[in-house]
């Protein structure tokens, strides 16, 4: 173990990507705000705008998916810390590797099938049920991108736990005692 393996140096370069995903998600949250405001104002003006609520739902879904990877890498997702915190040394590392392996598996599975959903929607030209009839593959493929970023982040995290265990245990996602809304 002299120089860090090239793969890890490559992974380091990916860090800004997750943060960028967080900013994209923030953009979707702003878009959601704008859409709801539009719906209130249009109702006050007596104009009916079909499809605004659907678009708002899509903006939220895309935002949620895009935010997943950054939230994961910054330790925002919660986990049950009770047992893991009792472990030390090699056992702690083994538990951490197991958790990250499950996470990587789940995230890849999710990304693959979200992609498949978008692909089928595109293939059959599926549209939303409302009067506006939006093409579903558009928001679904955006959500797939977010899911893919989570898959990448999870694999990244697993590789680090396998290749440089000490640093991996100090990373934010290893912090098991996350508080919802607490730091918020």
């Amino acid at each position: 173990m002299t120089a860090r393996p090239a793969i890890l140096r490559l992974l380091d370069r990916l860090e800004p990507l997750y943060r960028a995903c967080g900013y994209v998600a923030a953009g979707f949250l702003l878009a959601l705000t704008g859409l709801v405001l539009t719906s209130i104002l249009s109702r006050l003006a007596g104009v009916f705008l079909g499809g605004v609520t659907e678009l708002a739902g899509y903006a939220m879904a895309c935002g949620s998916f895009f935010a997943l990877s950054w939230t994961f890498k910054s330790g925002g997702h919660i986990r049950v810390a009770l047992l893991v915190n009792q472990l030390h040394g090699r056992r702690r590392l083994a538990a951490e590797r197991f958790c990250r392996a499950v996470m990587a598996g789940v995230a890849c599975y999710l990304a693959f099938y979200m992609g498949r959903l978008a692909w089928f929607s595109w293939l059959f030209g599926e549209r939303s049920e409302g009067s506006a009839g939006f093409l579903l593959w558009v928001p679904q493929s955006l959500a797939t991108l977010g899911a893919a970023a989570l898959a990448l982040a999870a694999i990244d995290s697993l590789l680090r736990a396998l290749l440089e265990s000490e640093r991996a245990l100090a990373s934010p996602e290893a912090e098991a005692k996350a508080i919802p809304g607490g730091k918020a």
Partner: protein, 435 residues
């Protein structure tokens, strides 16, 4: 009963995944995958994608990120200071003095934020140092804060109520309105306890500041914008003018305006509140993705139906059932956080609750109360973690300080069972057609 080993395998896999520290959302997804593979021939991955997409893009759920953002904006404003200064001249004359500021402050902040941990953090930021300086007993300061912080779940807007509403398909607006009276009643119960405690123990003979009438009115004036914001959000829901999501957006605009008036709105605080909201929403969204898929898988396993029939066969009265559930939730709360225990249990016991004939609005409020109790029971109680970080006391001290509050909440559950109208009256008279 040939399926019994499969069911055991399925349930054990859930406990194992959660217990080994796998992220809650990933645990639920993985367990649902196992359930689907064991119990049905349907295409697992495709069912997963369509279910998750359906929940995540639903209009009802859009209230969630909006209310989270509203809380984040106000958390970064000078609100805790204003609350403390505004309430002090009015509440210090009650027996128990400034301890009431903890409770009333939490109740007010709960009405603008949906998270109980954020409520504890915001109010405690100002009141812990002030109460310490004036020599209030530490045990009471910490205890009232831990207890009253849980009002965040009960008093609308409440993140946990939104999640319950989305899970069981109840109107968010009506749930919010249902939470008002029980929330206020619980706050009053906490305050009564402080008064009684002070009259019996009489330990808060601390010097009071003197305020002129003008100063008191000025303090009240400072509180007005906040109270206006709260009333605006709740009344717009209650009158049917706005859906929960729309009220949340109005709340976001109002909070931004409020911070701007206080001059605490900077580009930096705006950006941080937005990113904070993104992070918290994503954390919850991941759990909801897992729970929506797990609910689907649960249905195929037949566990919820078997449970409903099994418990139904025991001929339990509603009171016994509620008592049983209360114990169950308190135990569960020792291991899981509030949101996870809501989504996880509703996937299993929703048919049971419906079959027993409970009003789903009432049950939602009941659920908030018992989940609140779980927030202050060790070893996993998020309010305890927050207070640990803020006061530096160990978990044992904080948990012991919270015991009276815990007992008061048990009493509140009894009251809620006794007078179900506390939850159901306001929604029953609110205007129709407000979804």
């Amino acid at each position: 009963m040939s399926e019994l080993p499969l069911i055991a395998l399925f349930v054990l896999s859930l406990f194992f995944l959660l217990g080994s520290g796998v992220w809650v959302g990933a645990s639920l997804l993985a367990c649902a995958f196992i359930g689907m593979e064991l119990f049905t021939g349907r295409p697992t991955g495709d069912s997963m994608a369509i279910t998750i997409w359906g929940t995540q893009s639903s209009w009802t759920l859009t209230a969630l990120p909006m209310f989270i953002w509203m809380g984040e904006i106000l958390f970064r404003s000078r609100l805790s200071e204003i609350l403390f200064r505004g309430l002090t001249p009015w509440l210090q004359y009650l027996p128990g003095g400034l301890l009431h500021v903890n409770i009333a402050g939490c109740a007010i902040f709960a009405a603008i934020s949906g998270s109980s941990a954020a409520t504890v953090a915001t109010v405690g930021k100002m009141s812990i140092p002030e109460l310490r300086r004036r020599g209030y007993p530490e045990r009471m300061t910490v205890g009232t804060l831990a207890g009253a912080g849980t009002l965040g779940l009960l008093i609308p807007p409440s993140i946990a109520l939104i999640i319950y509403g989305v899970t069981v398909n109840e109107s968010i607006s009506r749930l919010f309105i249902a939470g008002i009276l029980p929330g206020i009643a619980l706050a009053l119960l906490f305050m009564t306890y402080v008064v009684v405690w002070d009259l019996v123990a009489g330990k808060t003979k601390v010097d009071r500041q003197r305020f002129s009438v003008r100063e008191r009115l000025a303090a009240l004036f400072d509180l007005l914008p906040v109270l206006g914001l709260i009333l605006g959000v709740i009344l717009s829901i209650y009158s049917g003018f706005a859906t929960a999501t729309e009220a949340a957006v109005l709340g976001v605009i109002g909070s931004l305006a409020l911070s701007a008036i206080q001059r605490s709105l900077t580009w930096e605080s705006f950006r941080e509140s937005l990113l904070g909201a993104v992070r918290t929403s994503a954390m919850i969204a991941f759990i909801l993705m897992g729970s929506s898929f797990l609910s689907l898988a649960m249905g195929f396993t037949g566990i919820p139906r078997a449970l409903a029939e099994g418990i139904g066969g025991l001929q339990l009265g509603p009171l016994e059932l509620i008592a049983l559930l209360t114990v169950f939730y308190i135990l569960l709360g020792c291991f899981l956080d509030g949101i996870s225990s809501i989504v996880l249990t509703m996937a299993v016991i929703e048919p049971l609750i419906r079959q027993a004939g409970f009003d789903m609005l009432w049950f939602g409020i009941y659920l908030m109360l018992v989940v609140e109790m779980a927030q202050i029971t060790p070893p996993i109680g998020f309010n305890l973690f927050v207070l640990q970080g803020m006061t530096g006391h160990d978990m044992g001290f904080i948990a012991r300080a919270s015991v009276p509050m815990f007992l008061i909440m048990v009493f509140a559950v009894v009251l809620l069972v006794w007078f179900p109208e506390a939850a159901t009256y306001l929604p029953s008279i609110m205007s129709r057609g407000s979804g």
